[in-house]
């Protein structure tokens, strides 16, 4: 690797190799980008990952299915609830269990709250990446309110571990609905501030418009999903394409743009927060009565076979591929994590732009490093 860096000479000019990361304020984790520069222009980006590779897939092979779920929290820690849901749905599908509506609705509300708080943090850190430090505090301030909802019901703030095969760990807190409604009311008032502070800002627009364009064809061929792909016009929302939980009974729009630049990747997330609030408002008053969990056998064994379940996390499609040999432990678990795939286009997008743009582009891909490394 070091050998490769030394020899990176093109047309007689030595490249200026800048090591961005593993510790850097805007890589949001331990991602290392080896950037070759000419002046300030980026000519090549080489991501080096694996600094927090924990071997979750290997660990899963020696754990039971309920135990796997809490490991998935640690992958994309901002979509913890949705990751849990993916494994649970897969196990439930394999066992052919009917899930009561109450569980489905609660899962959906929780998933949308997760999406909102994830996008709030995206807004916060994206503003910070571009130099607007105040955004960071406003974003975190509002995210706290969602985390309080999580803490009251699940007991955890980020690492919720709220799902279990067959339902939920416990019922929602009696004050859950009131708190969620309060939050929605509050956030509908604060969201326009986000727009005033950043979206409409002329500096912000100049910094992001036309930067790092991803075309529709490239997005599909590279397997890009989530808001990143939807900004390029790739309709890939699993909630629409293959509805799970309660998504088949609610109305919401899939946010689509065609430009595919950094600004529109940002806009997709801003609009998704509004869509998520709409979804929650449709469901919060109509949580059906019923049990919060289906009675499961103490030891869950999946029938022999292969199971693939995908869900829409805040960053894209999370696929859980389980191969079972009939034991209580899975034979092989593969997590198709959205960030891992989205990272692969970073080099393509940032070529020819400046360092500042590289930061903006990697910020707009909204990478979560533990999800890349797993």
């Amino acid at each position: 690797m070091e050998e490769h860096l030394k020899n990176s000479v093109t047309d007689g000019q030595e490249e200026y190799v800048l090591n961005i990361g593993p510790q850097h304020p805007s890589t949001h984790g331990v991602l290392r980008l080896v950037a070759s520069l000419r002046g300030e222009i980026v000519t090549n980006i080489e991501p080096h990952i694996g600094y927090i590779h924990r071997g979750i897939e290997k660990m899963c092979e020696s754990l039971t299915y309920p135990q796997i779920i809490h490991l998935t929290d640690r992958m994309d820690y901002l979509s913890a609830h949705i990751n849990n849901e993916a494994v649970c749905l897969n196990v439930e599908k394999a066992l052919e269990i009917d899930i009561p509506d109450r569980i489905k609705v609660i899962r959906t509300i929780m998933a949308e709250l997760t999406r909102i708080q994830s996008h709030q943090l995206f807004w916060a850190t994206f503003g910070m990446d571009l130099g607007g430090l105040t955004c960071f505090f406003y974003g975190l301030r509002d995210r706290e309110k969602v985390l309080d909802i999580f803490e009251e019901t699940c007991g955890g703030r980020m690492i919720v571990s709220y799902n279990c095969p067959g339902g939920l760990m416990h019922d929602i807190h009696p004050g859950f609905q009131k708190r969620v409604k309060e939050f929605i009311e509050y956030f509908r008032k604060t969201l326009p501030e986000y727009d005033q502070l950043l979206t409409g800002n002329v500096i912000f627009r100049e910094r992001t418009m036309g930067i790092g364009k991803l075309t529709l064809g490239e997005a599909i061929a590279h397997g890009i999903t989530g808001p990143t792909a939807r900004a390029s016009g790739f309709s890939c929302d699993v909630r629409k394409k293959e509805p799970y939980s309660a998504y088949d009974r609610i109305k919401f729009n899939e946010v689509l743009f065609t430009e595919g630049d950094t600004y529109h990747r940002y806009l997709v997330r801003m609009d998704e927060m509004r869509q998520s609030m709409d979804i929650i408002e449709q469901l919060i008053d109509n949580i059906p009565e019923g049990p919060y969990a289906v009675k499961m056998k103490p030891i869950i064994r999946l029938p022999e076979g292969e199971y693939y379940q995908r869900v829409e996390t805040a960053r894209g499609e999370l696929g859980v591929y389980i191969i079972s040999d009939g034991n209580k432990n899975p034979y092989r678990v593969k997590f198709r994590s959205p960030n891992f795939v989205n990272l692969s286009v970073l080099n393509m997008l940032s070529k020819g732009f400046k360092i500042a743009d590289l930061i903006a582009i990697s910020g707009s891909l909204d990478l979560i490093i533990p999800d890349i490394d797993r």
Binding site: L18, L130, G131, T134, L197, I203, E206
Partner: protein, 362 residues
Amino acid sequence: MPFDIYDFTSLTQWIDTSLNDRLSPFWAVVAEMAIVGLLILVFYALIGLFLVYAERKVCAFMQNRLGPNRVGPFGIFQTVADLIKLLLVELVPIRNADKFLFNVAPFIVIIASFMAISAIPFAKGLHAIDLNIGVFYVIAVSALGVIGVLLAGWSSNNKYSLIGAMRSGAQIVSYELSVGLSLITVIILAGTMQLSEIVQAQSTGWFIFRGHIPAFIAFVIFLIASTAETNRGPFDLAEAESELTAGFHTEYSGIKFAFFFLAEYMNMFIVASIAATVFLGGWMPFHIGSWEAFNHVMDFIPPFIWYLMKTFFIIFLMMWFKWTFPRLRIDQLLTLEWKYLLPINLVNVVFMAFIVLMGWHF
């Protein structure tokens, strides 16, 4: 004139004559220089510490935070504690750095700001040197600081530092033009470059009001350009902590870092006080046309307070900018200067000259 009660000329002249009585002329000058130097040093340190504290509190309130609140009441001694810490921490030696330049760079930055502060009129007669080309001197001297930034970036032998320093160089070279031209707009109106004269000329009304629209445009341009010249957000490309970690001062630690830190705040103070002096009447109190009683009350506020109020108002504006806007990119920074500020400025100068020729100003 009621504000003569706050005239410091007699005080300074008394000090001058009494020193000359007791000492030979040479030693009298040395003693005067020592007194002035000491006063400026103390003033510098106090203002620096206060500004750091003020910035933290301002940004904290804008971000729904409390800001420093541990050391002393409302955390007012936080910056003092930080200063003590910075004095005590280890100066990390950089093995491959150009040692001489690396060590000399912070001093260049801080000396440049020292030199600039000496030409600023704080009140009538409270003035270290009253040069007849005061405005020109301040612009020239405050631009010297960038040499320190460039040297710091180069000598650190760090890639982030070098990029930061080069950005800073490009930035200063272009924004110096706008600072100069916007001040020239006012100099046309004032007819002098001597800072004390400029302040005196505003006794009948501040230039920002007297000069109609062109003076206001010049004021706005001066604010933008001077924010850029002091490397403050949204123009803090030389530091750009989300891109270049800390830019040109990545490798500095301890007191050497403190020098850069202090110089940044002092540069902000200097440009704010120039703006206050040139556009907002310096230490002149605020008067409204024929409201005699109002004007009389205003006169009893000491000129030094007036000066500080105006300066801190402009500093607050600059902090407000920094904590609201995202950072510009280097090419946008240059676009802003060459495509927007410079042409507007040139038109503005002509416009102002026209107004002055026709005698349309107040």
